[in-house]
């Protein structure tokens, strides 16, 4: 009787489930299925069926009602699990489906797959918005945070907080966030915005809360060193331009990074803060020094009032490297710099100062119009100062003349020049029509008609993209790509990675003396995982380089075994 009974039951449910499914929503089906399962259970009890029959019966019912239609229930338009995922209000319906599927554990895979697909699709959408320029980097990060919060709810409610679903969610986020380095760059810009403006007036608690959210996204990144490089660049600009919303907020961010990644990750950053503090003290003592010089009657021989300079002295290894040779500074400025150098180097013999004219700023008093003259204090970059001072002697200059007089590198020269002839800040008038600079012969003329309602005017810099909309020189492409958030790993990070991998290989081999290829790759990857995820090929190239330099050798009888060479 049993096999007949089971057979008929199976047939019955097969047909019923098919027909029900074709005529109803997935949600309704789920409800019906649960009912049917309960009914069968009760019936079996009421009929006093042997327990040996109960098991196969349960299995048949579940197979026919659930397993067979799992995919359909996920994919069904509008009411399938995949669709429900897009609707924030359908958490309960999703949970019902989860509960049903949980009776046949393997079918829950379908639900998790749907979750993963949805997250990755949403994520890719955020990224392509970024690419197309319809959203900006901070919006991307906000989007990711929102997604995270949303899917946390989905996993908590619909999946009842199931650990495997949690893992799947994390992996899906990691998947789309690490498709290229744009995510790291966007996050760095987001943080920059917070630390320049966003956290203004926030309490300490609010600051920590918002920075914690940053760390949540940061945790998903596999190329943490890329984020670090971008973050450091922004930090340098904030510190040097004194644009931080508060020192406490900056320190809070560093603390969070340290808690997440360890001391190694943040030691250079702390060095940057230290430099700023020491520079402040240095400035005070230089001021005192100058005052005492004046008192002693060692006044400047020229009748021109000495230029007031404020210097930040940065320790080379901590800050992002510039490697730009200094431009030709106006003579009084150069004089002031020389005086400071003398003062500093007397205190710190053996040190060398390299002046970073690409990173400085200046306040320059300009006179416009005719009597009564309009005087404005223009807040400009060092490069712009060098450019403007030239117009004290000449009314009009060509690009070529400006370049040779200032020795400013071409890309930057164009950018800083164009910033001085925008419609809003037309300090200079450009000869040629259009936005871009035509050629070396293009002229720039001092504009006496310039007006501004402010006495003190900040002249912002145009982006690098705008300076050369058509030129495709590699420097321009690199620079604009960097400011936009490129998909390539910055060269400095790439170089650091090579050193780090080699150091790791040597450390591991020194400790283990002999190690097989796969094990060495695994050890090194593990050691470096806090910062980035090197590909096995990348590590292998470094191994080869170390073999060539005789740090390692291959074992004679086993090519896959490496020996440490003391």
């Amino acid at each position: 009787f049993e096999s007949l009974f089971l057979g008929t039951t199976q047939e019955f449910y097969r047909l019923e489930s098919l027909s029900y499914l074709s005529q109803n929503t997935a949600t309704a089906y789920v409800e019906k299925a649960q009912v049917r399962i309960e009914e069968e259970k009760d019936r079996a009890k009421a009929l006093g069926l042997a327990s040996t029959t109960e098991e196969p019966l349960k299995s048949i019912v579940e197979t026919e009602l659930i397993e067979r239609h799992a995919r359909a229930l996920v994919d069904m338009e509008h009411s399938g699990f995949a669709s429900l995922l897009t609707d924030e209000t359908k958490l309960q319906e999703m949970r019902c489906m989860f509960d049903l599927f949980a009776r046949v554990p393997s079918s829950v895979d379908n639900l998790r797959d749907a979750l993963a697909e949805r997250i990755k699709a949403d994520g890719r959408g955020l990224i392509s918005d970024q690419e197309r320029g319809s959203s900006d980097p901070p919006a991307f990060v906000r989007g990711v945070l929102k997604m995270r919060s949303r899917y946390n709810d989905v996993v908590a409610v619909a999946f009842r907080g199931e650990k495997r679903a949690q893992k799947r969610m994390r992996e899906s986020f990691e998947d789309f966030l690490n498709a290229d380095t744009r995510a790291a760059s966007c996050l760095a810009v987001y943080v920059d915005e917070l630390l320049r403006n966003g956290l203004r007036g926030c309490s300490e608690q609010e600051v920590n809360e918002r920075l914690e959210k940053v760390i949540l996204v940061f945790r998903y990144l596999s190329d943490k060193d890329v984020f670090e490089a971008f973050y450091k660049q922004h930090l340098a600009k904030r510190l040097l331009g004194n644009r931080s919303v508060s020192e406490e907020a900056e320190r809070a961010m560093v603390s969070q990074l340290k808690a997440e990644c360890g001391y190694q990750f943040t030691s250079k950053l702390e060095g940057m803060f230290n430099d700023m503090r020491i520079s402040r003290d240095m400035r005070d003592s230089y001021k005192a020094h100058k005052r005492s010089e004046q008192d002693e009657g060692e006044a400047d021989s020229s009748r021109v009032k000495p230029i007031d300079i404020e210097v930040d002295v940065l320790t080379n290894g901590y800050w992002p490297s510039q490697n730009v040779p200094p431009c030709t500074l106006p003579i009084p400025v150069q004089g002031a710099i020389n005086k400071f150098s003398t003062f500093y180097l007397e205190k710190h013999t053996g040190r060398k100062l390299s002046w970073q004219s690409s990173a400085g700023s200046a306040e320059i008093r300009a006179t416009f119009g005719s009597s009564p003259f309009r005087r404005h204090d223009l807040c400009v970059s060092t490069y712009q100062m060098c450019i403007l001072v030239l117009f004290n002697d000449r009314n009009t200059m060509t690009l070529g003349q400006i370049r040779s007089a200032t020795q400013i590198p071409d890309m930057e020269l164009r950018r800083h020049l164009i910033s001085l002839c925008t419609p809003k800040h037309k300090i200079l008038k450009k000869g040629s029509k259009g936005k871009a600079i035509a050629s070396d012969e293009d002229t720039f003329t001092y504009n006496p008609d310039y007006t501004s309602k402010f006495k003190r005017v900040r002249i912002p810099l145009v982006s690098l993209k705008e300076t050369n909309p058509h030129k495709t020189s590699t420097a321009a492409a690199e620079a604009s790509a960097e400011s936009a958030g490129s998909s390539a790993v910055p060269a400095s990070v790439e170089e650091d990675r090579r050193h780090l991998v080699e150091a790791s290989i040597v450390r591991v081999m020194k400790a283990r003396k002999a190690l097989h290829h796969n094990d060495l790759i695994a050890e090194v990857s593990k050691q470096l995982s806090v910062r980035f995820v090197p590909s096995p090929q990348f590590i292998k190239k470094r191994i080869e380089s170390l073999i060539e330099r005789e740090y390692l050798e291959r074992a004679k009888d086993d090519r896959r075994l490496y020996n440490y060479m003391a």
Partner: protein, 251 residues
């Protein structure tokens, strides 16, 4: 005779070591020194009891450095033996057996004398008699591996640790042309790959890449099951396999 050997010196040394300007210039001065050297050794031989091969050594020694036989001396030896160093692997086998190790493109007096003692070589005739045994076919596997490595090491220039890829290809054909260790198709395709590779990574070849290639040919005769993800072969070989696989797909 001295004149003709000077010319031979120039061309063959060029083959073995990329630029041999140094050798060429010294060969003209060589012209005079050669006579001088042979006459002086002629005087000393009668007075002192010598170890095996001293006279032979002095005949081919570098006139500017009596502790070494350099490439010109080696080429002179080849001429004497009537073998062509450009196409005859046996001179390399000879030098390897004789124990040249310390520095590339030369054999020291110490090494030479030890080698002569070991192989009972005292005259040029002994060397001539050795020639047939210098076929690589007589080497057992471990010996061939060692010899193969020697071929790379011996051909380095001065303190350089790598060889030009063109030279590597020439050497490969010279050492492995017989096909007993490396299949002809493998050798040909690999050499083509090396020479036509764009980019700077393989313009010069390292010792590891050289020795690995031989092992690779032995251990992986069939490229079908090559797994790049766990491969411990040098990246050069990974790229060669990738190249071959993409050629295969195109067919």
């Amino acid at each position: 005779r001295t004149t003709s050997s000077s010319t031979t010196t120039t061309t063959t040394t060029q083959m073995w070591s990329g630029s041999s300007r140094k050798s060429r210039s010294s060969s003209s001065s060589h012209h005079h020194h050669h006579h001088h050297a042979s006459s002086s050794s002629g005087n000393s031989s009668s007075s002192v009891k010598e170890s095996f091969g001293v006279k032979l050594f002095d005949k081919y020694a570098d006139p500017d450095d009596a502790t070494n036989i350099n490439m010109e001396g080696i080429v002179n030896l080849c001429t004497e033996l009537d073998i062509d160093p450009l196409t005859d692997i046996r001179i390399l086998v000879f030098l390897w057996k004789m124990g040249s190790k310390e520095k590339p493109q030369q054999i020291s007096k110490e090494e030479w004398l030890a080698g002569c003692t070991k192989h009972k070589v005292d005259t040029i005739d002994h060397v001539r008699k050795m020639l047939p045994s210098l076929d690589t076919g007589f080497l057992i596997h471990s010996e061939f591996k060692d010899f193969f490595k020697f071929c790379f090491q011996f051909n380095r220039e001065g303190t350089h640790k790598t060889l030009d890829r063109e030279l590597v290809v020439e050497l490969l054909r010279l050492v492995c042309g017989t096909g007993s260790y490396i299949a002809k198709e493998r050798l040909d395709t690999y050499c083509d790959f090396l020479l036509s590779h764009k980019g700077t990574e393989y313009v010069r070849i390292t010792l590891d890449q050289w020795t690995s290639f031989l092992d690779f040919c032995e251990e992986v005769p069939n490229l079908e099951y090559y797994d790049e993800t766990t491969s411990a072969w040098p990246v050069l070989i990974d790229e060669y396999v990738e190249h071959m696989q993409s050629l295969q797909q195109k067919k």
